[in-house]
Amino acid sequence: MRGNLVIGAVLVGLTVVAALVSFVWTPHDPTLVDAAHRLAPPGGDYLLGTDKFGRDTLSQLMVGARTTLYVGIVAVGIAAVIGTPLGMLAGMTPRGWLSELIMRVNDLVFAFPALLLAVMLGAVYGAGTLTAMIAIGVATVPAFARIARAATMQVMVTDYIMAARAAGRRGPAIALRHVLPNIGSMLIVQASVSFAIAILAEAALSFLGFGTRPPTPSWGRMLQEAQELLFSTPRLALWPGLAIALAVLGFNLLGDGLRDHLDPKLRRIRAER
């Protein structure tokens, strides 16, 4: 559906705009502890209210969006940069020992829960945004490698690859000039879906205390801090929870929408119905 693409793009766009605006302007300083305005109700000077330290929730959400996108970009970036070439390599030599090795290691990483990896890395190297990003990124590599491999194998059996080989092109040139441009759309779709998963993972890690460290605002940590006041002031959990849900939904819809939009085969099926 076209609607998916539009709604997804709007939700993602909102997150991006909030994050960008936060660089130049927020209603209040998101880290300013102000005992005089503890737990101020929504409305008036504090549009979404303040938390138990008197920090403005809206400002925190805006700067938190920054953290969220930052984590997503770096984690997906790591995954794409490592996973795509590995997957392409495996897809271009589907019967070689190297391909076999790549895919078995891939299965191994895939079987390993991302959160567990992050907790382990956090325990060894210290918790922090960077550790979380690397852990999430590494755990997402297999998803990219698999998609890249499957798409590459589809491209490799086409006549234009045969034609390129007959023209004298060798492996690396075929990979860069023919395979990559033709699997690009599938990778973009994978990236937006992985982005949603990365956002969730970061929130979960921050909630558990293995992610972004105070005082940097993070949606996950906002949730955690709201925990003890969940019954007296539920809105403190509601706002970050809503932000996470909408951002994740946005990236998922964007991924679905892009897939439908970019995949000519699906488009044809829709036309036939």
């Binding site: 829709r270 036309a271 036939e272 119905r273």
Partner: protein, 298 residues
């Protein structure tokens, strides 16, 4: 039996098929020939009620006094597979890969109310008649030719009065094509046979419609049309279909089928005989052997 009057198919305001009229008598085999983009497949799909989204048909088409056009989807669904059925070009994608072929043949009968046991028995019989002796096989275990025979069995299962074949042998080897064509001639009731291959249509049909640019430009008894073509397009198509001896130039039609056809005679931008007269629409005229050309071949 089948009567099509002024069938017009439009998409986004563009006429893809224009004012097509023809009839098919019981037992008759009519060929619909044309190149890609001529509108021949859309003509068939509109008779089946299978036009893609955004594409609509107007005009009238009746099969045994039942309307096929401008009736609710539900009514057409009831007719499809029972009164009129179709064999497509690609036999692999048209079959369900997870179902045994025998079950697929009997399913189309149970769908239209035949008791299960009877359907199973008739499916076996039908598969035997089209020469597929493996009702328990899955589609991927069969060759392309066998799969196309299964498609034929499915199409004939409910004893339709009209079978539409859309390039049914284009994906097949020539030796397999020959058997398939013989089967169609032997088993089918009336046939509307769509193809771009003039030799194939000549081996199956007794009457032929030539389409170009969404219009029927010539129609008549096959032998008459093929030995004495009047429309310049038919003439060119026939000439281009014959292979001359080695070392000689093949006769050609200049240019390619355009994505947008000119007004008036759709063929005038590729025709050596075109004149200012061709800017207005030639009507399809003639009894029996009809053609729509301002400068017909003598």
């Amino acid at each position: 039996m089948l009567s099509v009057e002024a069938l017009t198919v439009r998409a986004d305001g563009v006429e893809l098929v224009r004012e097509v009229s023809f009839g098919i008598a019981p037992g008759e085999r009519v060929g619909l020939i044309g190149e890609s983009g001529s509108g021949k497949s859309l003509t068939a799909l509109s008779l089946m009620g299978l036009l893609p989204e955004g594409v609509s048909a107007t005009g009238s088409a009746t099969l045994q006094d039942q309307p096929l056009l401008g009736v609710p989807d539900k009514r057409v669904k009831g007719l499809r597979g029972r009164v009129v059925s179709m064999v497509f070009q690609e036999p692999m994608t048209a079959l369900n890969p997870t179902m045994r072929v025998g079950a697929q043949v009997s399913e189309v009968m149970t769908l239209h109310g035949v008791p299960r046991a009877e359907a199973r028995e008739r499916a076996l019989d039908l598969l035997g008649r089209v020469g597929v002796e493996a009702p328990r096989a899955y589609p991927h275990q069969l060759s392309g030719g066998q799969r196309q025979r299964v498609m034929l069995a499915i199409a004939l299962a409910n004893e339709p009065s009209l079978l539409i074949c859309d390039e049914p042998t284009t994906a097949l080897d020539v030796t397999v094509q020959k058997q398939m064509l013989e089967l169609i001639v032997e088993l089918a009731p009336a046939v509307l046979f769509i193809t771009h291959d003039l030799a194939v249509v000549a081996s199956v049909c007794s009457r032929v419609l030539v389409m170009y640019g969404g219009r029927v430009v010539e129609s008549g008894p096959l032998r008459e049309v093929f030995t004495n073509p009047r429309h310049r397009y038919t003439e060119g198509l026939l000439a281009a279909s014959k292979l001359t001896p080695r070392g000689t130039r093949l006769p050609i039609i200049p240019g390619a089928v355009p994505s947008r056809f000119p007004s008036g005679c759709p063929f005038r931008d590729r025709c050596a005989h075109a004149s200012p007269a061709c800017e207005s629409d030639p009507a399809l005229t003639g009894e029996g052997h009809a053609y729509a050309c301002w400068h017909p071949r003598d």
